[in-house]
């Protein structure tokens, strides 16, 4: 299944895609599909609707801003990353690591969004960069 969308690309992005298309003797559109697919691969396919952070209540925003991984998942992730560094990951563990990294990455993004929303609403003090 596929969905057709119309995108407006900055000229420089289009030129890069065009160059890659020429180098690989492919259509620009195909190169763009591959590029988008690859860059989105860290994200899972969960289909539950996610409310935009701006639509959350103050309490929900603060809860999300303080989000941490579940302790069990956190420990598993640490253990798997250690194994990855030691070069001893099995195929099953590699899949487990990828799944946990998806959880981590989605949480990281949601937390960052919630923290900036909390600052915008005056719920949190801005931090020094």
């Amino acid at each position: 299944m596929s969905t057709q969308v119309t995108l407006t690309l900055p000229d420089e992005v289009y030129r890069r895609a065009e160059r890659l298309a020429q180098l690989s003797s492919r259509d620009v559109a195909d190169v763009l599909v591959d590029t988008i697919e690859l860059s989105l691969s860290p994200l899972g396919l969960q289909s539950e609707a996610i409310k935009p952070v701006s639509a959350l209540s103050d309490e929900e925003v603060m809860a999300l801003a303080q989000l941490q991984m579940e302790p069990e998942q956190d420990q598993s992730l640490s253990r798997l990353l250690d194994r990855q560094q030691a070069g001893t990951l099995t195929e099953t563990q590699r899949s487990e690591l990828l799944a946990l990294m998806q959880v981590y990455e989605e949480g990281l993004l949601q937390k960052a969004q919630a923290m900036s929303e909390a600052v915008r609403r005056g719920l949190m003090e801005p931090l020094e960069a």
Partner: protein, 119 residues
């Protein structure tokens, strides 16, 4: 690691600059605090390839090298740009501009937390 990981306030952990798979030890000199993203992308890599010169080079070592000599921020501060052979190879090897990292940095830029002041 002095990049977005340093201020991500998510889950930090030590990673081995030289991975244990390649003989790295738990000595302080071989450990650096980084977030899970940098950690997972680094894996067992110790070297990377500079996309400009094609040269293979040891990855940036935050314990012995200066961040600002090897990297800078893009105009919108959301991406890390490698300035040297080592910097460019590290950006690619650790996927420092992966989509999650860039989107997270954009959120921080919006509220003035980013880029961090880095020596």
């Amino acid at each position: 690691m002095p990049q977005f990981a340093e201020i991500c306030s998510w889950n930090f952990r030590n990673y081995h600059l030289i991975p244990t798979a390649k003989g790295g030890t738990d000595d302080e000199d071989n450990l650096w605090l980084a977030c899970r993203l940098c950690n997972s992308y680094k894996g067992t890599q110790t070297h990377g390839r500079d996309p400009v010169t094609g040269r293979r080079i040891r990855l940036f070592n935050p314990r012995h090298q200066k961040w600002s000599r090897h990297f800078t921020w893009s105009e919108d501060s959301a991406q890390i740009i490698g300035k040297t052979i080592c910097g460019r190879a590290t950006v690619i090897a650790l996927q420092l501009n992966n989509i999650i990292a860039v989107m997270v940095r954009r959120e921080w830029v919006a509220v003035g937390w980013h880029p961090p002041k880095i020596e």
